[in-house]
């Protein structure tokens, strides 16, 4: 065999082997790092809040990445499954490189034993759902194989630890200011790791607008945060009037024949039974487009406008609180609203 003498010269051999392995290393790893396309940032990207960051640390510590991915691929069925198809901009339908600029490291994962979580903040914005789920997953999702994380409730957050994390990330270029650090103790006061993990989970995917134009992101299990809040109920009535709701639905929301339905009977969108508060919330926020998500026919083409652009979520919940109060009031008076 007339092989070259390099197999007799270990130093030359080692140098050549190094050069050979560096070729691909430089072209596919080092060189891309110098290009802006590996450092994109979506407009308005904000670093995680102290509570969310503490939640991300918990997410890392518990190895959530072993079972959950955080990247929605641009595949039709995947976009539908993770509700990217609600996004107003086509580019928002799947995960964008620019969403992860502050992710040290990326948490895309490699295995979906559980579902992808990249858009979780849009898909399941209900914190209550997540609290219940982390506490006892099988209670919420029968036959799920996720471990229980109830113990996180017993672990209080330490402001100093969160600040250390923020300082570490700041040296890496994540824009945390002194004011952000100073705000940490107040932000994590009395909070547990469970609060942090829930806050992080519902923050996922929020850097890009993936809200349904029609309020289709309704979580029917979401409770009304102001259900029995007297001040909110009063505010709801004011808003009901101020936004001319009564013009169609009547002064007391009893509806007007042929114009708009009664909102305080036991029906909703022309069918029985009634639906939970969140359905009313969705209809107000998204207008008639939300009906499809609610699975109700209603009037063809509908006439309900979307108020999501005009009213804050809290305002909408206040209106719902007033409607429900009104309904209870009518029931107590014993004369249901006319049809």
């Amino acid at each position: 065999m007339s092989e070259s003498s390099i197999y007799r010269k270990p130093v030359a051999f080692a140098v050549l082997a190094t050069v050979v392995v560096l070729a691909g290393t430089i072209v596919t790893m080092a060189y891309p790092m110098l290009r802006p396309e590996l450092h994109p940032k979506v407009e308005g990207l904000k670093p995680l809040s102290p509570l969310e960051l503490a939640g991300r640390d918990v997410y890392q510590r518990e190895g959530c990445v072993n079972c959950h991915t955080q990247t929605v691929r641009p595949l039709k069925s995947e976009v539908v499954r993770y509700k990217g198809n609600r996004a107003p901009e086509p580019s928002g339908q799947y995960s964008l490189a620019g969403e992860f600029a502050y992710d040290h490291p990326f948490l895309w994962g490699s295995k979906r034993t559980g579902p992808d979580l990249a858009f979780e903040g849009w898909i399941k914005p209900s914190k209550d759902w997540h609290y219940a789920h982390f506490e006892d997953p099988q209670k919420v999702v029968p036959r799920s194989n996720m471990p229980k994380y109830a113990f996180l409730r017993g672990n209080a957050l330490e402001a100093a630890k969160v600040q250390a994390s923020m300082r570490g990330l700041r040296t890496l270029g994540v824009p945390y200011g002194d004011a952000d650090l100073a705000a940490v103790p107040a932000a994590v006061e009395g909070k547990t790791e469970m609060d942090a993990l829930v806050a992080y989970t519902v923050s996922l995917g929020k850097a890009v607008n993936r809200a349904a134009a029609g309020g289709g992101d309704v979580d029917l299990e979401a409770p009304n945060p102001f259900a029995t809040d007297v001040a909110a109920i009063a505010k709801g009535k004011t808003l009901f009037d101020a936004n001319a709701c009564s013009a169609c639905h009547g002064d007391e929301a009893q509806g007007q024949e042929g114009v708009a339905p009664n909102l305080i009977d036991d029906q909703f969108l022309g069918a029985s039974p009634d639906l939970p508060d969140a359905a009313y919330f969705a209809m107000i926020k998204g207008g008639s487009d939300a009906k499809k998500a609610l699975g109700r026919p209603g009037v063809p083409d509908g006439g309900m406008a979307a108020f999501g652009g005009d009213l804050s979520d809290d305002d909408i919940w206040a209106i719902v609180a007033w409607l429900r109060n009104q309904k209870a009031h009518e029931a107590a008076e014993g004369h249901p609203g006319g049809h």
Partner: protein, 473 residues
């Protein structure tokens, strides 16, 4: 002090350590396989799937894998350089540091200290320890090679040198981080760049911890065990250089359809396809080597380990590139197909060759014969059946799961919920646990056989009242 006998005890120390961590890692694998279908088997906070899975992977890659690499690299280097190690004491210190490091690594992972980077989970203090261990390996291997008494460097030494250099580069770059406490750091790289660096590392950790070192063993121990010379030296040369060249371009095939720029994905896919050629260079070389006398398959119990091992390497290196193609990746990526693929490589190729190498080395170190060839055959069939059952089960359920995720009706609505897919996994996950039990049983037989061989050697020495003889290279 500087003689073969002392160094062989170090080699054997690494081998026994690797076997110990191998058994621990496999038992943890069984536990996490149960946790997938029985969530009640999670014991929060320390023994949940999320914390245990990295202990399983790191325990086997760094405990079994690196332990075997350290021990067998030293053995091969000494034989091929025709001299003892240059720094025998250093190797002995390395052995103790290695075991202490694995213990610390396991504890830190159970405490939840992790960088969340696959196969680079360990936090910075342990990263530093691993760098120290690797430098110790480099110093001894390079030193011994430089002072060798055989001018020509054989193929196995090429793979050893390439392994030592490349792992050093990969490991250091991917673990660059800013520490915020003893158990927590934030990696230097972020987002899409962090993904690209991680999978450049991740794929090449497979390449240079689970491929090139195993090829070094294969090229040395196959001819040694069978007495048959490697079929083609020229093919060895071509396969070596093209393999170590092409491997480093391919990491991004783990990121197909992610937000990573398409050109990096495509380049990786192209080089992944090319990688079939050098991989099969070694496969063909292995087959033709044994092809010089196929009767050794029957007459020599070790031949089948090497032939089945290289066969799974061949299957692995065709299946892997196929998975890299976009049309395949979109279906099987993120599903249980992937653990099926990984375990064919680790159970069928890596462990098979490491075990065969240990079967070759341990009797020679102890101046005796293997305790029982019959048990070695039992070991062989158990691990073969266990691995096949494992992989095939996972491939089937992976494809099933991928289809269920994709299935839509005419209106474009999804046919199945995510939970439908999970529930469909349960019977396959049960079978996988069974497969793991069969595999683990095989490994227990292996460990028993090796320990009894050492005992037999000791008994023989005691009877003869003399030091073990060293079998010539």
């Amino acid at each position: 002090m500087n003689d073969y006998r002392y160094d062989y005890q170090t080699v054997q120390g690494f081998i026994l350590s690797a076997m110990f961590w191998g058994v621990v890692g496999i038992l943890l694998g069984l536990l996490i396989s149960v946790q997938l279908w029985a969530p009640a088997a999670n014991f929060a906070p320390y023994l949940t799937y999320g914390r245990l899975r990295p202990v399983h992977t790191n325990g086997l890659i760094f405990g079994l894998g690196a332990g075997a690499i350290f021990g067998l690299f030293y053995y091969i280097t000494m034989r091929l350089c025709k001299r003892p190690l240059l720094f025998p004491r250093l190797a002995r210190v390395q052995l103790w540091l290695f075991n202490a490091g694995i213990v610390a690594a396991a504890v830190s992972l159970l405490l939840g200290q992790t960088q969340s980077l696959e196969y680079a989970e360990l936090e910075w203090p342990l990263d530093l320890a691993i760098v120290v261990l690797w430098v110790m390996l480099a110093v001894n291997v390079f030193g011994t090679i430089l002072k060798r008494r055989e001018e020509q460097m054989y193929v196995s030494l090429w793979y050893i040198v390439a392994t030592v250099i490349t792992i050093a580069i990969l490991y250091i770059v991917n673990n660059l981080a800013v520490p915020v406490s003893l158990g927590k750091s934030y990696p230097l790289f972020a987002g899409v760049n962090s993904a690209n660096v991680q999978w450049w590392y991740g794929h090449n950790a497979v390449g240079f911890l689970l491929t090139t070192p195993i090829l070094a063993m294969f090229y040395y121990f196959l001819p040694k065990s069978t007495g048959l010379p490697i079929y083609s030296h020229r093919l060895s040369i071509v396969a070596f250089w093209s393999l170590i060249f092409a491997y480093l371009w391919t990491g991004a095939h783990h990121l197909v359809y992610t937000p990573l720029p398409d050109w990096i994905q495509t380049l990786a896919i192209v080089f992944t396809m090319f990688l079939i050629a050098p991989s099969w260079g070694s496969v063909v070389n292995g087959y033709y080597t044994v092809g010089q006398d196929w009767t050794t398959m029957r007459s020599n119990y070790l031949t089948k380990f090497f032939i089945l091992g290289i066969t799974f390497y061949g299957l692995q290196t065709v299946q892997g590139p196929t998975q890299g193609l976009r049309v395949v990746s979109q279906l099987i990526h993120f599903t249980d197909w992937v653990p099926g693929h990984v375990h064919m490589g680790t159970m069928g190729w890596v462990t098979m060759i490491i075990c065969a190498s240990i079967y070759y080395v341990v009797p020679r170190i102890n101046g005796t014969e293997l305790y029982s060839e019959k048990l070695a055959n039992v070991h062989f069939w158990l691990v073969l059946v266990g691995q096949l059952l494992f992989s095939i089960t996972m491939w089937i359920t992976g494809i099933r799961q991928g289809w269920m995720w994709k299935a839509t009706d005419e209106a474009g609505k999804l046919k199945y919920t995510f939970m439908d897919g999970v529930i469909g996994n349960y019977p396959y996950w049960h079978t996988r646990t069974l497969a793991g039990i069969i595999f683990a049983a095989g490994m227990v037989v292996f460990v028993y056989n090796v320990l009894m061989t050492i005992r037999k050697g000791k008994a023989a020495q005691a009877a003869a009242g003399s030091a073990p003889t060293t079998v010539a290279a």
